[in-house]
Structure formats: structure tokens, C-alpha cells
């Protein structure tokens, strides 16, 4: 390096010039990060959220909308949706009966209950204006404290808070910078648990289809055998789900999802996921389940929504189509998705939902 006398320099001139260099560097990197070439080299993106599966879905949906010109139906829910609904099969079934292929995206995210989902729903509806929002639910969604840890971490995320209207510089930067979005998946490269986490992330990214479905290859064992409370492994579920009570706050979350019916012009369909009947042993039996259905169906009806109970499709799902008492696998998903597609035909007919018009335009 050339050496000059330090007396002739001012630290302010160095800082000022450094700022200019910095901005130029960032601009250059932004340009590169926004090219399609870079997107192919490094397809993974993140918004710095700790829940990488949410991020996979978020960016997959962005790409989906970009590719298809919009989205007609967003299916929202937990891991049950993620692995149990294949939007392509739903759309194909619908097409076979109506000649229309609705653009459907599966936004099921692991561990996310109705509370964070009510916020995610508002983000998605405001951004993509789908004609139909399918909120899939099940009894555990309404247990106080269930998924609370996930919920707290999720909702306190700076980017997520920025999306909800709380300004944060980090949230804004992440939302607008392609460089940051491409860098963030690798941000923890120095952590000792990084390689395992990244390997899992890449696997799940690759396994997730363009329409957001992630197949589950596990085939459940003894799913139809009622759980034994004396079994130590089963006992944890009896402890967690026993004395089943519906939390009022969670019902309020569901109501806020149903509000889109009136406020945003998006029809809301609440689908109860077809968990195996043996699950009800944890919560106190079939009668508790019936009470649950009565409670939420009346809430849904009162708020102008439509409720599709689990019974609508449950009998079509073979035992081998389940990976455990809750989740469907790659064998069960096509059956359930087909059934859901058929139910959608009926619903669209009843409620005059026209996917055809949105097919021709962009995202409404």
C-alpha cells in the first residue's frame, strides 16, 4: 500500500468517503442479488425469522404468484396442512368438475396455531387478495398455552412486526434488500449447529413443491390403536391435551380470520383436519370433540364463514395414509386433497365464488 503522511488526512474525509464506498458496494451487491442468475446460484432466502419453514413458504408463495400471476386460494394452517394437502391435486379435481383450475397455495407451517395464523392470514390477504382463504384447524389449536413458545418468538420477530406496521429498521431493510434476504439463510454459518440446520433447511426447501406442499413419507404404526395413558410416551399427550378447554383468546383469533369475510372480500372456509379418531382419547373422548365442533361451527356461522367438519372426508382416508394420529402421509394426502377439491366445487357453487375471473387477471 502507498503510504502518506497521516497529518494531511482528516478522519471525517475518510468516513465520508467510506460511506460513499459503502453505498456503492451495497448498490452493486443489490444489483447482482436481483439477477435471475444469482437466484439460481443461491435460491435460498430468509427474512431473519427463526422459523425457517415459514420463510420457505413465504418465498415459495412469492415465486408462485410471480409465476402464475396471482393466487386464488391460500390454505393456511399448521404442519397438518403442510403435509396433508396437495394444492395441485385439489386444483386438478376442481378442474375435472368445473373446467376451471384455481391457483392454490399451501401455507401450512409447523407448530403455528390459530394465534400467529390470524396475523399471517392478515398479511397474506392484504398482500395477495385471494378469493378464498381456507383456514384448517383442529382441537389443539384452541388449548391455552399450546404452541405459545413458537407464538411468542414468531410474533416478536422484527421483520414480522414490521409487516404488522411496527416500524423497525431491520424489518424494513430485510423486506427491501435482496442481498440481505439471500445472505440471511447463511447468517449462522459459524454456529456449531449450523450444518445440521442448513442441511435440514435445504432438504425441506427442495421437498416443498412450487405450490407449498411438503410430502411426508412416514407410514404410521398402530395409529388405530387407542392410546394407553400408562404408556410413558403417550402420557405426555394425555397431560398436554387432557381436561380439554377451548381458550376464549383463541376463539377471538379465529374470529379475526373470519372477519375477512366482511372486510376484505375474501371468503373464509374453515376446514377441520381429519385427525384419526383415536386422537380424541387424549382430549376426553368423542363427545368432547363434538362439543368442540359445535362451539366453533356456531362461531363460524355467526361470522359468515363456512365450516367443513372432519367427517366430510375422514372415511375416504386409508389407515396407511397416515404418518401418525394427526398427519397424513404421501398416500393419504392425494385422497384427502381430492375430497377437498370436490367439497370446494360444492362450496364455490353455493357461495358464487368465481375462480375463473381471477384466473385471467393477476392477483386481485
Amino acid at each position: 500500500m502507498t503510504q502518506v503522511s497521516p497529518h494531511k488526512k482528516s478522519i471525517w474525509s475518510i468516513i465520508l468517503l467510506a460511506v460513499i464506498f459503502f453505498l456503492a458496494l451495497v448498490a452493486l451487491m443489490e444489483l447482482v442479488a436481483r439477477t435471475s442468475w444469482f437466484g439460481q446460484v443461491s435460491p435460498y432466502r430468509s427474512v431473519g425469522n427463526y422459523h425457517y419453514q415459514f420463510e420457505i413458504k413465504w418465498f415459495r408463495l412469492q415465486d408462485y404468484v410471480k409465476q402464475n400471476g396471482g393466487v386464488d386460494i391460500i390454505v393456511l394452517g399448521s404442519s397438518l396442512v403442510n403435509t396433508s394437502i396437495d394444492p395441485d391435486i385439489v386444483s386438478q379435481t376442481y378442474h375435472e368438475q368445473t373446467g376451471v383450475s384455481p391457483r392454490i397455495f399451501n401455507f401450512g407451517v409447523e407448530g403455528i396455531t390459530v394465534a400467529p395464523n390470524s396475523v399471517i392470514a392478515s398479511l397474506l390477504v392484504e398482500r395477495y387478495h385471494p378469493a378464498l382463504l381456507i383456514y384448517t384447524t383442529e382441537m389443539r389449536d384452541y388449548i391455552t398455552g399450546n404452541g405459545l413458545d413458537y407464538e411468542m418468538r414468531f410474533l416478536s420477530d422484527p421483520w414480522f412486526r414490521y409487516q404488522r406496521g411496527d416500524f423497525s429498521l431491520f424489518g424494513w431493510l430485510v423486506d427491501h434488500s435482496a442481498v440481505l434476504q439471500h445472505y440471511l439463510p447463511y447468517r449462522n454459518w459459524m454456529r456449531s449447529d449450523y450444518s445440521e440446520t442448513m442441511a435440514l433447511y435445504i432438504k425441506r426447501y427442495q421437498d416443498t413443491s412450487a405450490s407449498g406442499y411438503e410430502p411426508d413419507s412416514m407410514i404410521g404404526v398402530n395409529v388405530d390403536v387407542p392410546p394407553d395413558p400408562n404408556d410413558s410416551e403417550e402420557a405426555q399427550y394425555f397431560n398436554a391435551y387432557g381436561n380439554y378447554q377451548i381458550a376464549t383468546s383463541r376463539l377471538d383469533n379465529l374470529k379475526s380470520i373470519l372477519d375477512f369475510n366482511q372486510n376484505q372480500g375474501t371468503t373464509v372456509l374453515v376446514v377441520e383436519m381429519p385427525v384419526h379418531q383415536t386422537f380424541y382419547a387424549y382430549v376426553g373422548g368423542e363427545e368432547v370433540h363434538i362439543q368442540f365442533q359445535q362451539t366453533i361451527s356456531s362461531l363460524i356461522a355467526a361470522n359468515g364463514g363456512t365450516f367443513l367438519p372432519a367427517e366430510a372426508c375422514i372415511n375416504t382416508i386409508p389407515l396407511s395414509g397416515r404418518s401418525n394420529r394427526w398427519h397424513l402421509n404421501y398416500l393419504g394426502t392425494p385422497v384427502f386433497s381430492k375430497c377437498l377439491g370436490e367439497q370446494l366445487v360444492v362450496l364455490a357453487d353455493q357461495q358464487n365464488i368465481d375462480f375463473n375471473s381471477s384466473n385471467t387477471g393477476g392477483s386481485r
Partner: protein
């Protein structure tokens, strides 16, 4: 020290400092120092002010007293040591004291006795002791203004982890006009930049690479990883502490007050004595002046033969044991100190046989070999420094157990590289963590450059555009690295 809040705090403190008339600047520095301490706890500020006041009056008393001066000195040293023992080392005796009180029927509440553990007290204690000793020996005139002395104690850039400043160098700086010229500003700025890079980019990153469990359960790791992660730890502790010192020296420079340089590329030392002239220099000098020399002199008075075993063995061993105890009253710290004492002893004995030569006088190849040898010895001492005695034993023995060295799986690596297999973790190859070596490159480059230029802020010699470009790249790297969740406090904040 690397937070945005601290940066804003410093910026405000510096701006106001330079806007104030000269006569109010010391008062302002004292006020911001107290405010800084209060952000940790107001009790801490109270303790520090009590310590400052007691030592201030003892110093003045020592200066005017004609008789019993030695008694006064020991009262002062005793007070400082008791405060340190009572608060910092409370973990040692507090449970026993709680048990005793409970047995005597005195209930101490659900949590037992709880004492505030004051951050930075060890650093203040050694400074107070040196102040009293220097005053006693009439090397130093006692400070007559309480405010100056209190500022010497609580001066915020050095309060958490030093440097251990002598009153005779720091106090005059508080009293004289402190001009801030362009050169000082530039140098201070770069010291902060280097410090932040050392802490956030090098130390925190390397620290995150090291698996947390390795220093708890070394038996679960192959030997090659124990070696590599120990190497990483050596650079974590160095860059962490050197980074801290660099930041506080930079901040202090903006007030026109130059703090002691604490590190001079210690891992390039060619003998152990040289290492201690380059590592935590302010504490090393303190130990030399107030433990090693007095102990040597006292022993020489009794046995007036420099080469007598007692004169050779006792001073280095005692000095390094005190150093170990200063870091913590635990057997592992004592072992760490004892090892260093032993190294110094062996070195002292070895130079008895031949006339002493400075490291620079040896051929280059020998200097490099010596530096490597010293580095290995130093790295080995970090084992007891980092973990308790039993775990340190396991760690060390496993490192030297041949069967614990697992052969690398090069076949799997080859398959992975040609895309035939997928692996979840680098660990599956049984290879040392490559990230450690990736991070050691910039760490060594920075040290090498500083050594070569004989200037820690070598960037100041560069043209403006090169400095600016370098700063811009550093800023970008810092931002990107800071997005990882690896935040760790400064290692030396614990001492």
C-alpha cells in the same frame, strides 16, 4: 462495549466533553463514568465510591504520617483485599456462611445470602494497592483533589476490564489540558474499529464455532477436534480481550486520555518472559512491580545469592500463583498460574548456563521455532483456564490419547464433493472444523500486518481512499456478521 447504546453514550459523552470549558471536563468525565456504572447497578457505583474515598484519605494520611506508615499501608491493602474477597469471591464462602447461619438459627431467606458481584473490582483493587504502595514509598505524591482520584477509580472506559492504570500516569492526564488533534482522533477512531472487528468478527465468530459441550464433555469428541477447538479458544480469548482494550483505548483517546496498551501480538512471543511482556501488559507489569520484584528483593536480603534455588523458584511461582488467584479463586486458575510460573522458572534456569541473549539476536528460523514452541505451551495453559480441574485433566489426556484420534473419512468427503452422497454435518468426515482455519486467516493477517508495520493502527499510513475503502468493507462485514445470533459478553468482564 460493542452495543449501539454504548456507542451513543460515548458519542454524547465525547461531544459534551469538548463543548465544555476545560475546568468542567474532569467533573463531566466523573459524572458520565458514574452514570455508566449506574447502568449496571447503583450499588456498584456506591461500592466504587467508598473504595475510592477510603483509599484517597489513606493515601493522604500516608503522605503526612511520620510513624506507623507501614501499618497504615497494610490497613489500606487489607481493606482493598477484604472488599475484593467479600464481594468478588463470595461464591466460595457464601454457601458455607449461609449453612452456618441457618444452623445458628439465623434464617437468610429462600435464596440464601446474596451479595452483589461487582464487575471490574479486581482491576480497581490492584490499582488501589499500587497507589498506596507508591505513596508509601514516596514515589508518588498523593492526589489532593477527591474528584481527580475518584475519576481515576471510576473512569468508565477502563472500569470493566482495565487496563490496570497506574495513578502516576493517569492522574496527571486528568489535570492537564487535553488537546484533541487530528492525528489522535484518527488513531482513536481506528483503535475502536480494530477493537470492534477483533471482538465481533473474530472473537465472537470463533467462539460460536466452538461447540459448547466440548469444554464440558471432551470425551465425546475426537482428539483432532479437541486440538482445533483449543486453538480456536486461544484466538477467542486473545481477540476478545485485545478487542476490548483497543475499543476502550480508542474511546479514551477521544477524551484526550491515553490508556496503556495491553497487548503487543503476544502469540508471536519467542519466550515465556516475552509473552508476559506482550499479554495483558498492564497487569503483568503490576505483578512484576508489586509481587515479583518485592518478593525477589525480600528473598535476596535473606539469601544474598541470585542463583540460590529459593531465589530462582519462589518469585516466579508466587507471582504467577497470585495472577491465577486474581483471575479466580478456583483450583483451575491456580493450576494455570502454576503452569506459567513453572514455564518462567524453567526459562530462568536455562539462561543460567549461558549468557542471556535477546530473542532478536537469534537467527530467524530459531525465532520462528521458538515462537511456535511458546505458542503451543501457552495454548496448553488455556485448558485449565477454561475448564474445571477434572475436565481439564480429561481434555488434556484425551488430546494425547492415540486411540482417540479418529481417521478422517476421505472417501465420504470425495463422494460428497462429487455429489454422490448428502451429509448433515462436517463432523461426519472426522475432519477438523475448517471454519476455525477460515477465521484464523484474518486474525493472523491482522496480527502479522500490525507486527510488520510495528504499528497497531497501520491503516493511518494509507491514502484516504484506501482507508475509506477498507472501512467500507469492514462496515459491510460487521453488519453481515452482526446478523448472526452469537452475541457473547467480553471474556475478561468476568474477572
Amino acid at each position: 462495549m460493542t452495543s449501539l447504546a454504548f456507542a451513543v453514550f460515548c458519542a454524547v459523552a465525547i461531544l459534551v466533553h469538548w463543548r465544555l470549558p476545560q475546568r468542567y471536563r474532569t467533573l463531566w468525565l466523573f459524572a458520565v463514568s458514574i452514570a455508566f456504572i449506574v447502568t449496571w447497578s447503583w450499588e456498584l457505583a456506591g461500592i466504587f465510591l467508598v473504595v475510592a474515598t477510603v483509599n484517597f484519605y489513606l493515601g493522604r494520611w500516608l503522605a503526612i504520617a511520620e510513624r506507623r506508615r507501614r501499618v497504615l499501608l497494610w490497613i489500606g491493602i487489607g481493606f482493598d483485599v477484604v472488599v475484593l474477597m467479600a464481594l468478588k469471591y463470595s461464591g466460595f464462602y457464601i454457601s458455607a456462611l449461609t449453612d452456618l447461619l441457618e444452623r445458628m438459627g439465623v434464617h437468610t431467606g429462600a435464596g440464601g445470602l446474596l451479595l452483589l458481584v461487582p464487575i471490574g473490582l479486581s482491576f480497581i483493587t490492584v490499582q488501589m494497592i499500587s497507589y498506596l504502595i507508591d505513596t508509601h514509598h514516596r514515589i508518588l505524591n498523593p492526589e489532593i483533589r477527591w474528584l481527580n482520584f475518584a475519576l481515576y477509580v471510576v473512569y468508565f472506559p477502563k472500569i470493566l476490564s482495565g487496563p490496570v492504570e497506574r495513578a502516576r500516569t493517569l492522574l496527571p492526564m486528568f489535570k492537564q489540558p487535553r488537546p484533541l488533534d487530528a492525528r489522535t482522533m484518527e488513531r482513536s477512531f481506528w483503535l475502536i474499529v480494530i477493537g470492534v472487528v477483533r471482538k465481533l468478527v473474530l472473537a465472537d465468530t470463533l467462539s460460536a464455532v466452538i461447540p459448547g459441550a466440548i469444554f464440558l464433555h471432551p470425551e465425546n469428541y475426537p482428539s483432532q477436534n479437541l486440538v482445533v477447538y483449543l486453538l480456536a479458544y486461544a484466538f477467542v480469548i486473545y481477540n476478545d480481550f485485545a478487542g476490548y482494550t483497543s475499543i476502550v483505548r480508542g474511546v479514551s483517546g477521544f477524551f484526550g486520555i491515553e490508556l496503556t496498551s495491553n497487548f503487543k501480538l503476544p502469540y508471536f512471543s519467542r519466550n515465556i518472559a516475552e509473552f508476559w511482556e506482550r499479554w495483558h501488559i498492564s497487569l503483568s507489569n503490576w505483578l512484576r512491580d508489586y509481587i515479583f520484584f518485592p518478593a525477589s528483593r525480600a528473598l535476596l536480603k535473606r539469601i544474598p545469592n541470585r542463583y540460590h534455588a529459593v531465589n530462582l523458584v519462589i518469585p516466579p511461582i508466587v507471582t504467577m500463583l497470585v495472577s491465577g488467584m486474581w483471575h479466580g479463586l478456583a483450583p483451575n486458575f491456580l493450576l494455570w498460574g502454576a503452569l506459567h510460573g513453572l514455564y518462567l522458572l524453567v526459562e530462568r534456569i536455562s539462561i543460567l548456563r549461558s549468557p542471556r541473549r535477546l530473542p532478536d539476536e537469534f537467527p530467524k528460523w530459531r525465532q520462528v521455532l521458538s515462537a511456535l514452541g511458546v505458542f503451543v505451551l501457552i495454548v496448553l495453559t488455556w485448558i485449565p483456564f477454561r475448564m474445571d480441574l477434572a475436565t481439564a485433566g480429561h481434555y488434556l489426556s484425551r488430546m494425547f490419547t492415540l486411540s482417540a484420534w479418529i481417521k478422517p473419512n476421505f472417501w465420504l468427503l470425495r463422494m460428497y464433493l462429487i455429489g454422490k452422497v448428502q451429509v448433515n454435518s462436517w463432523v461426519e468426515f472426522n475432519l477438523p472444523d475448517i471454519r476455525v482455519f477460515i477465521m484464523l486467516i484474518p486474525a493472523l493477517l491482522l496480527d502479522w500486518r500490525q507486527a510488520r508495520c510495528k504499528d497497531e493502527t497501520f491503516f493511518t499510513r494509507w491514502p484516504v481512499w484506501e482507508s475509506a475503502l477498507f472501512l467500507a468493507v469492514l462496515a459491510l462485514v460487521l453488519i453481515l456478521f452482526s446478523l448472526a445470533s452469537t452475541g457473547a459478553p467480553f471474556v475478561y468482564q468476568g474477572f
